[in-house]
C-alpha cells in the first residue's frame, strides 16, 4: 500500500504512506446527504458533503425557494444525548453573489455518531428553524500524494543530515577557545559522534515509523463498518441475525436492541437478483427476538440475491446491512405483505433501460431525465405515473407514508441508497432531529393510511450519484391498492 520503497520508508519516517480500503456507510457507498426540507414558508434543498475522516469538515450547500431567505446560520450538534442540549455557536452561510438563493458553508464534525445540522433561517417570513440529520462516520484514510511524500522526505533527510552536522560541530568545535583549531583527536571524535548520531536518529525514525503504524492501525479501528448480519434461509423463511456489539467506543452507540420504526417498519429490505438486477423485492421483515429479523419470502425466481437491509438506531443513526442469499429453484412462496413490492426489469445485459418503463398493469412510469448527469451533483429527479390511457394517474396513494420510494443502485454493487421525496436521510432520523419524540409512534410510523386525497402523479427524489458508472434506479409508487416498481438505467460519466 505504500508508494515508496521499504528502505526509504524506514529512513524517512515522513514519507510513510497509508491507504485503507474504501469502506461503506449508512446507505452503501453514498455518504452525502441530499435533503429537501421546509422551514416554515422557506423551502431548502440541502446538500451536505460529509468528510471521509472524523473529525473533519463537512461542506453544506443550500438552494432556497419559497419565501425569500436573507441569511442562514448552521450549527452541528448530536441528535440525542447531553450534547444535543448545548449547541455550539452557529456559523453564517455565505450567499452566492451570482445567485442570492444559493448559500454555502462549512461545519466541523468532531466525533462519529448521529448528528444533525440545524439551519436557522431568517428572511421575509421571519425566523425559522429546521434540522437535517447527518450520520458522521470515518470511512477511509487518505493516501499521501507522491509530491508531498517526496517533499517531506527531502526535508526529513535534510533534518537528519544537518543534525548529524550539528553533532559533529558540537564535538569538534564548540568547546574550543575562539580562534583555536580542532586537534586531529577531536576530528576523529567528531566522525565517531556523527556515526553514532546517525545510528541514533535511524533508531528514532524506526521508533517513529512503528508509532505511526500503531496510530494508523488504531485509527483504522474507528473506520466505520456496518453491523454484521448473518442470513439463513430454511424453506422460504429468511432469518437475518444482527450481531450484538461488544466492541469499541464508536460502535457502543449502535446496538441490536435499539431499532426505531421507519415508515412503520423496523427494517426495509431490498433483495436484488445478481448479477443481472432483473428481479427486485422491497420487503419488511419483523423482529422475532433480539437482533433476529424474520420474514417468509414471497415467490422469487431462483438465483443469488444481494440483500440491503435499512435500519435506524434510537439515536437516529441509519445503517444498511448487506448480505447475500441463494434462493433455490421452486422455493415455496408466501403471499407478500401489504407494503411489500416487487419488480422484474429486463436483465442488465439486455441493454440500457430508457426513460419510460411499462408496468405490468398497463400503467407507465416516466423519468424526466436531465440532459446531463454527472457525479457528485445534487439533482431533484422527477418521475411521473401515467395510467393506461396515457393520462397522469389520478389515483396515486401514499406508499408507506410517502409519495414514493427510490433505490439508487450501482450495478457493481458498490452503491446502494434508499431515498424518499424528502431526501436521502432516514425519515425516523429526520423526525428525531426536528423534535418528534422517539416514543411518539403515530408520528414515527408515518401513518398516512388515513390519507384520502389522491396524491400528485409526480414524485421527486433529491439525490446525487457518488461516482461515475452504471446505475439502476428502482422507483416505487402506489395507486389504488397496487404498488408499482419502475426501473431506469443511467450511465454517469
Amino acid at each position: 500500500m505504500n508508494c515508496l520503497s521499504k528502505p526509504i520508508r524506514l529512513l524517512l519516517f515522513f514519507a510513510l504512506l497509508f491507504a485503507l480500503p474504501h469502506a461503506v456507510q449508512a446507505h452503501v457507498g453514498s455518504k452525502d446527504v441530499y435533503e429537501q426540507v421546509n422551514a416554515g414558508p422557506y423551502k431548502l434543498f440541502v446538500t451536505i458533503r460529509t468528510p471521509t475522516v472524523i473529525p473533519g469538515v463537512a461542506t453544506v450547500e443550500v438552494r432556497s425557494s419559497g419565501a425569500t431567505v436573507k441569511n442562514i446560520h448552521i450549527t452541528p450538534l448530536p441528535i440525542t444525548g447531553e450534547a444535543s442540549k448545548h449547541p455550539p455557536t452557529s456559523d453564517p452561510m455565505k450567499a452566492s453573489t451570482a445567485d442570492p438563493a444559493f448559500f454555502t458553508g462549512n461545519i466541523w464534525m468532531m466525533a462519529s455518531g448521529s448528528w444533525q445540522v440545524r439551519f436557522d433561517v431568517s428572511g421575509d417570513a421571519g425566523d425559522q428553524v429546521v434540522s437535517v440529520p447527518v450520520p458522521a462516520v470515518a470511512i477511509s484514510t487518505l493516501k499521501m500524494q507522491h509530491g508531498l511524500g517526496i517533499t517531506l522526505g527531502i526535508l526529513g533527510l535534510f533534518l537528519v543530515v544537518s543534525m548529524a552536522g550539528i553533532v559533529a560541530a558540537a564535538v569538534r568545535d564548540a568547546r574550543l577557545e575562539p580562534g583555536a583549531t580542532p586537534s586531529p583527536n577531536r576530528k576523529r571524535k567528531a566522525i565517531l559522534a556523527t556515526i553514532c548520531s546517525l545510528a541514533f536518529m535511524a533508531l528514532l525514525l524506526w521508533g517513529g515509523a512503528t508509532w505511526w503504524n500503531v496510530e494508523a492501525a488504531a485509527y483504522s479501528l474507528n473506520v466505520y463498518h456496518p453491523m454484521s448480519v448473518s442470513p439463513s434461509l430454511s424453506g422460504n423463511l429468511l432469518n437475518l441475525n444482527v450481531a450484538a456489539y461488544d466492541g469499541d467506543k464508536e460502535r457502543a452507540s449502535r446496538s441490536n436492541k435499539d431499532f426505531l420504526p421507519d415508515h412503520g417498519h423496523l427494517m426495509h429490505l431490498y433483495a436484488i437478483r445478481e448479477p443481472e438486477m432483473d428481479a427486485v423485492f422491497h420487503l419488511h421483515p419483523e423482529l422475532a427476538s433480539i437482533g433476529d429479523f424474520r420474514i417468509s419470502l414471497p415467490t422469487m425466481p431462483a438465483g443469488e440475491y444481494k440483500l440491503y437491509g435499512d435500519i435506524v438506531h434510537a439515536n437516529g443513526f441509519p445503517e444498511t446491512l448487506v448480505s447475500t442469499i441463494t434462493v433455490p429453484a421452486n422455493m415455496p412462496g408466501t403471499p407478500p405483505g401489504a407494503d411489500d413490492a416487487s419488480g422484474y426489469p429486463q436483465p442488465l445485459s439486455h441493454g440500457e433501460l430508457g426513460n419510460s418503463y411499462k408496468l405490468p398493469d398497463g400503467y407507465t412510469m416516466v423519468w424526466d431525465r436531465p440532459a446531463t448527469v454527472s457525479a457528485n451533483t445534487a439533482y431533484a429527479f422527477h418521475f411521473h405515473l401515467i395510467d393506461g390511457d396515457g393520462k397522469p394517474a389520478s389515483d396515486v396513494q401514499p406508499y408507506m407514508g410517502m409519495a414514493g420510494h427510490a433505490a439508487f443502485v450501482k450495478t457493481d454493487g458498490t452503491v446502494f441508497a434508499h431515498t424518499h421525496p424528502e431526501g436521502s436521510a432516514a425519515m425516523a432520523a429526520l423526525m428525531l432531529a426536528n423534535g418528534s419524540s422517539g416514543t411518539d409512534h403515530n408520528t414515527m410510523n408515518m401513518d398516512m393510511s388515513a390519507h384520502n386525497e389522491p396524491l400528485s402523479s409526480t414524485v421527486e427524489f433529491p439525490y446525487g450519484f457518488p461516482s461515475s458508472g452504471r446505475y439502476r434506479i428502482f422507483v416505487q409508487m402506489k395507486h389504488s391498492a397496487t404498488i408499482e416498481t419502475g426501473a431506469f438505467d443511467v450511465i454517469v460519466p
Binding site: F13, F14, F18, V53, I54, P55, G56, T75, P76, L77, P78, G81, E82, A83, H86, P87, P88, T89, D91, W108, M110, A111, G113, W115, A138, T141, L142, M144, L148, T151, L152, L155, G156, F158, L159, V161, S162, M163, G165, I166, A168, A169, A170, R172, D173, A174, R175, L176, E177, P178, G179, G208, W211, W212, E215, A216, Y219, N222
Partner: protein, 400 residues
C-alpha cells in the same frame, strides 16, 4: 569532583580571548531569541486553551501566530548569524563559530535553525495527518512531536547562544554584569524549558491521574534530567528551584488571566457550556522536589557523580510524592474550586459522567503496583540526573 560540580565563575584565571574582551553587553540577537521562545511558550498554552474552550479554529488564531512567530524570529536571527559569519566582511575575524556543512555560525544558531526547519516540515505533515486520520485533539502525535521538537530545537539553540556568551563572559571580571544578565536569561529560558516538559506531559499529569503511577514515571523521566543539566550549565546554586518557579508562576498566571476572556465553543459535541477561556490545570508542585535537589547538590559537591545521581532520583521522587499526593486530594475537593486553584474549569467536551467532571481519581494504583511504579520512576530520575549532570558539565565548556 568538588571543583567541577559547581565552579565559581570568577575564581579561575582564564585566558582573555578576543571575543570575551569584546563582549561588553548582551548581543541583540539573544534578546530577540528570548522573545521568540517566550512567544512560543505563550502561544502553546494559549492554543491548548483555545482548543479546550472554542475548539478547532482557523489557522490564523492569535495563539497559532504566537507559536509561528517563534519560528519566524528564529529564522531571522539564525539566517543573519549564519550569513554574516559565513559570507560577511568580518567573517574571518569572528572566531567564536562552528562549521556545519561548510557554513559558519555559533552552534546555537545552527540548532535554532534546525528547529525552525523542523517546525516548517511539521506544518504540511500535520495538515496531511489531520486530513488522513481526522483532526485529533491529541497533543502527542507524530507531526505534533516533530513540531514540539522544532520548537524545542529553537529553544535549545537560543539556550546555547546564551550559554556560549555566558561561558565566554565568565572568565572576565569586567563582564560580571553581562554574565549575571546572561545567567538570568539562561535560567528564564530554562524555566520555559521546564514548562515545555510539563506541557508535553499534560495528558499524563491531569489532576485526576495523580494517584496512579504514570504521572510520576513521566515526571521521573522528564524533570531530574533537565534540572541537573540546567543546574550544571548555569553555575547557579538555586537553578532547579528558580526554573521550577518560572513554570509554576506561568501556570498560575494562566489560571488567573485566561478566564478573564469570554469564549464560546464553535464546535460540537458540547457537553459543558463554556463561557470563558479555560486555563490549564493547577501546576504540579515541582518547586518542592526542585528545592530538595538544589539543597542536595549544594551539600554533595565532593560526592561522585553516580552517587549524587542515585540519591537525586530517589530524593526527587520521595519529595514529589509526599507533596503532590495529598495535594491531589485537595485539588479534587470542593475547597479548590476557586479563582486561584481553578479546578472548576472544564473543557467544552468534558462529559458529565467523566472523571474530570465527577472529580474522582482515574485508575488509582495501590500496594505493590504503586511501590514498584514509584521505584521505577525514581530509577529513571537517577539515570536522568546522571545524564543531566554530565551533559550540563559539557555545556559549561561550550565557547562558540
Amino acid at each position: 569532583m568538588a571543583s567541577s560540580t559547581f565552579p565559581t565563575p570568577y575564581a579561575g584565571s582564564h585566558t582573555t580571548t578576543q571575543v570575551t574582551s569584546k563582549t561588553t553587553s548582551v548581543p541583540w540577537y539573544i534578546w530577540w531569541g528570548v522573545l521568540a521562545v517566550t512567544s512560543s511558550s505563550i502561544g502553546g498554552a494559549w492554543d491548548v486553551s483555545w482548543h479546550r474552550s472554542i475548539g478547532r479554529d482557523s489557522f490564523w488564531t492569535p495563539a497559532h501566530m504566537a507559536i509561528y512567530a517563534c519560528g519566524v524570529l528564529a529564522a531571522i536571527i539564525c539566517g543573519y548569524l549564519i550569513l554574516i559569519n559565513t559570507f560577511g566582511r568580518n567573517a574571518k575575524e569572528n572566531t567564536a563559530t562552528v562549521n556545519v556543512l561548510g557554513f559558519r555560525a555559533p552552534l546555537g544558531a545552527f540548532i535554532a535553525a534546525w528547529g525552525g526547519i523542523a517546525m516548517i516540515t511539521s506544518a504540511p505533515f500535520d495538515n496531511w495527518w489531520h486530513a488522513a486520520y481526522g483532526l485529533d485533539v491529541k497533543i502527542v502525535s507524530p507531526p505534533h512531536t516533530l513540531l514540539i521538537l522544532g520548537i524545542r530545537g529553537v529553544g535549545i539553540g537560543i539556550l546555547f547562544l546564551i550559554l556560549a556568551a555566558m561561558n565566554r563572559a565568565s572568565g572576565e571580571e569586567s563582564n560580571e554584569r553581562t554574565f549575571k544578565t546572561l545567567q538570568r536569561l539562561f535560567l528564564y529560558i530554562g524555566g520555559l524549558f521546564v514548562s515545555g516538559q510539563m506541557f508535553f506531559l499534560l495528558e499524563y499529569t491531569w489532576d485526576v491521574k495523580l494517584h496512579s503511577v504514570s504521572p510520576y514515571v513521566a515526571m521521573g523521566i522528564a524533570l531530574p534530567f533537565i534540572f541537573a543539566m540546567l543546574s550544571q550549565a548555569s553555575r547557579y546554586k538555586w537553578a532547579a528551584t528558580s526554573t521550577a518557579a518560572v513554570y509554576m508562576t506561568i501556570a498560575i498566571a494562566e489560571i488567573l488571566i485566561l478566564p478573564l476572556f469570554p469564549a464560546q465553543p464553535k464546535l460540537g459535541p458540547v457537553f459543558y457550556p463554556v463561557t470563558h477561556m479555560v486555563p490549564a490545570k493547577f501546576p504540579i508542585l515541582i518547586f518542592a522536589p526542585a528545592l530538595a535537589l538544589d539543597l542536595l547538590w549544594q551539600r554533595t559537591r565532593a560526592w561522585k557523580p553516580w552517587t549524587i545521581a542515585l540519591v537525586s532520583g530517589f530524593l526527587f521522587m520521595a519529595v514529589l510524592v509526599m507533596v503532590e499526593w495529598p495535594f491531589a486530594n485537595f485539588l479534587l475537593s470542593k475547597a479548590s474550586e476557586n479563582r486561584f486553584f481553578g479546578t472548576g474549569y472544564f473543557d467544552y467536551n468534558s462529559q458529565p459522567n467523566g472523571y474530570d467532571r465527577l472529580r474522582i481519581f482515574f485508575e488509582e494504583d495501590h500496594g505493590a503496583t504503586l511501590f514498584a511504579g514509584l521505584l521505577r520512576a525514581a530509577v529513571y530520575g537517577s539515570i536522568g540526573t546522571w545524564i543531566g549532570l554530565n551533559f550540563g558539565r559539557w555545556m559549561r565548556s561550550v565557547q562558540r
